[in-house]
């Protein structure tokens, strides 16, 4: 049995992993957002990514970079590198062959940063922080579309924490981080129709303050937010969420990320929080 991790923060400031979009583009179609007919504007994508980078830097975060690799356009979505748990991280096993090449680069980067990189058996699918988000002491985990329930059960066994598996039922919201975002140990953003009835019941029972998104803002990736302290960075076009956040004392920051939306990702997908999410305890 693995030991419990240090609950104290391991780092002095927020610590984030990103990957510049040098080789980003729509080269294949593995989710409903992707269409090779609807190519990303590379220059605009670079501009949007740089803006996000600067916003995060301005929050006081330290940012590490993964070296971009030709032929791996989605390497830019570092949320899917792994799930970080203290000094350990659980490397992703991508469901789609198109992304499996990313694993070795994430493994090397995380190992270089000093993490103990753990892997799951080769026949398991698990897509990192894209499908595994702490809210308080509990890990909420999405399954069915990308990660499998068995992988999440295996993670639960290894981290000795409660892991709540939530079935994702809408292919547009194929990762948990596209429809659920913990803000603090007792607060989260969510889009209920992305979950089945069991999942909706569980989330309502587990988290006291849930900010519900409407269809329009959910489709604008409002749930794919980066939380740093009280600041919440999202794609632009989420005014209702922004108001809900402000009323709770958060500071919403919107920045256009339209070119990444074409690949099914947004602010959160472009980052991996290495020091543990804000809502993690």
């Amino acid at each position: 049995m693995t030991k419990s991790p240090p609950v104290d923060r391991l780092f002095d400031s927020p610590y984030i992993l990103m990957c510049p979009p040098r080789f980003y583009g729509i080269e294949y179609e593995i989710n409903p957002w992707m269409s090779r007919e609807r190519q990303a504007d590379h220059a605009l994508a670079t501009q949007q990514w740089n803006a996000l980078f600067q916003i995060l830097q301005s929050t006081g975060a330290t940012i590490e970079l993964v070296e971009p690799q030709p032929g791996l356009p989605d390497l830019v979505f570092t949320a899917n590198a792994a799930m970080v748990f203290g000094r350990r991280c659980y490397l992703s096993r991508f469901r789609h062959q198109q992304r499996q090449g990313e694993e070795q680069h994430f493994r090397a980067t995380l190992a270089n940063l000093g993490f103990d990189v753990e892997e799951l058996p080769s026949d398991f699918y698990f897509e990192g922080a894209g499908d595994a988000l702490f809210c308080g002491e509990t890990l909420f985990a999405g399954y069915r579309i990308r990660s499998t329930a068995r992988s999440l059960q295996e993670i639960a066994r290894r981290i000795d924490r409660a892991v709540i598996c939530l079935e994702l039922v809408d292919s547009r919201f194929y990762h948990l981080d596209t429809c659920f975002c913990p803000l603090s140990p007792h607060q989260a953003i969510w889009f209920p129709p992305a979950f089945d009835e069991y999942g909706q019941r569980v989330l309502r029972q587990s988290i006291p303050d849930l900010i519900e998104l409407d269809e329009t803002e959910a489709a604008a990736f409002a749930a794919n937010a980066v939380v740093v302290g009280r600041q919440v960075v999202t794609n632009s076009g989420c005014p209702k969420l922004a108001a809900a956040l402000r009323s709770r004392g958060f500071e919403p920051i919107e920045t256009p990320l339209s070119e990444f939306g074409k690949a099914g990702g947004s602010a959160k997908c472009l980052t991996l929080r290495l020091d543990g999410e804000e809502a993690f305890r």
């Binding site: 399954y143 639960a156 598996c165």
Partner: protein, 419 residues
């Protein structure tokens, strides 16, 4: 429980397991709902609920469906929610991290033939024994049952039920004169029929080159049944004897003094200072250096132990805390005795337990279900205990040992004469 049902006639079933935080995340209710929504039914075979919020829960569920097609569909759907058919995947191996203890969640064995799935192939587990774990060799080529005390750090131990299957229990054979024996234990049954059937098995075992083990208590001596056992040894029907200090002691007491616990076996009366006889017998054997030396020195000239030495019957005497003496051959470390018994039963094909509760239960624990066991005891609770502890293949005969052995020897003689 809703949905819980027995298998429908002509239906099929399969066991699955689901683990993790299956209560809090409603995964278990979801899996059970999926089964019933698709026309199946289920039995929860095992459910362990985590005590604290972070603790995982575990359920083993038998899924029933009307056809294999329906069952396959159900298994596929619930598989998406983390329910794993225990036959569809390799068993899970965890390296032992502590000497003398299994990893948590180890698969606990039964006495029935067991196979494990490893690297996609089914491998039969050797040295089948109940209440053990299963250890797999580093090259994944062999597997065997392993007692807890023998676990070494690094041993690959099977954990969970996935990839483990056991051969279903066979009912006691019918139409053999024993159909009445597999119901409740009762003393009100004809013993002659039972003795005849046991005689047939002993003759059959001898003819086929098998080995018969007698597990015996001192009642064999107290009831003046020594000669019957000696007769069976002389005729080659017994290859092994497992007993405690008492059987050997009173057998030798009788050989040296004609008494058993001071009672004259010819007259049935108590002999002057007879209570000392068994101690004096033990002392004599200890002075000789053991039972075998006593036979070789001409001190011990008759009885069961004498015949064992004369006919190379392997005997194993396991001690207990109340033993007098004990005799030099008695193994006083019970783990050592258990291990020697474990090795000793490996080639046994028929086992006859005669009037000893503790030794019968101990040997029952070690024998695989494939070995036929007959337990003869005047106390019904002995044979019930054996069955309760998992030795369900045991055929119980509730009777006084002496008339049973007398009838058994007569039947063996009759069978020999019949050729």
């Amino acid at each position: 429980m809703p949905g819980s049902a027995q298998q429908v006639p002509g239906g099929v079933s399969e066991d699955v397991e689901v683990s993790g935080h299956i209560i809090d995340s409603l995964l278990l209710p979801k899996v059970l709902d999926c089964i019933t929504q698709r026309g199946g039914s289920f039995d929860i075979l095992e459910l362990t609920v985590g005590q604290q919020r972070k603790d995982a829960s575990y359920a083993r569920v038998r899924v029933h469906a009307a056809s294999q097609g329906e069952l396959d569909q159900i298994i596929a759907v619930i598989g998406d929610h983390g329910a794993v058919s225990i036959n569809s995947e390799d068993c899970r191996l965890v390296a032992a991290d502590i000497e003398g203890a299994f990893p948590e969640g180890f698969y606990s064995t039964t006495n029935r033939e067991t196979q494990i799935r490893i690297d996609g192939n089914w491998l039969t587990v050797a040295l089948q024994e109940m209440d053990c774990g299963i250890v797999v060799s580093a090259d994944h080529q062999t597997a065997r049952c392993l007692p807890m005390t023998e676990v070494a750090i690094g041993d690959l131990i099977v954990v969970g039920h996935v990839g483990v299957r056991i051969t279903p229990e066979e009912r006691v054979e019918r139409g053999t004169g024993f159909e009445f024996m597999d119901s409740a234990v009762s003393s009100e049954k004809p013993k002659r029929v039972a003795a005849r059937r046991v005689a047939e098995w002993m003759v059959e075992t001898k003819r086929s080159g098998g080995k018969t083990l007698i597990v015996g208590g001192p009642a064999i001596v107290h009831t003046d049944s020594i000669d019957y056992v000696c007769d069976l040894i002389q005729r080659g029907y017994i290859q092994k004897l497992f007993a405690g200090n008492a059987l050997a002691t009173h057998d030798i007491e009788n050989a040296l003094y004609g008494t058993s616990l001071g009672v004259n076996l010819e007259e049935g009366d108590i002999v002057q200072s007879g209570h000392e006889h068994h101690l004096r017998a033990i002392n004599t054997i200890r002075r000789c250096g053991g039972i075998r030396p006593a036979v070789e020195q001409g001190v011990l000239k008759s009885g069961i132990m004498f015949e064992c030495v004369q006919h190379d019957v392997e005997f194993l005497l396991a001690g207990s805390i109340r033993d007098d003496g004990p005799l030099p051959e008695v193994i006083t470390d019970c783990l050592v005795a258990q291990q020697k018994m474990r090795v000793g039963v490996r080639d046994v094909t028929f086992c006859l337990m005669l009037s000893t509760m503790l030794h019968s239960v101990a040997v029952g624990n070690l024998l695989p279900a494939s070995v036929r066991v007959v337990c003869v005891d005047i106390n019904p609770s002995t044979v019930i205990k054996l069955s309760d502890r998992g030795s369900s293949q045991t055929i119980p005969i509730v009777t006084d040992i002496e008339p049973f052995l007398r009838a058994l020897v007569e039947e063996v003689h009759r069978l020999e004469q019949a050729g």
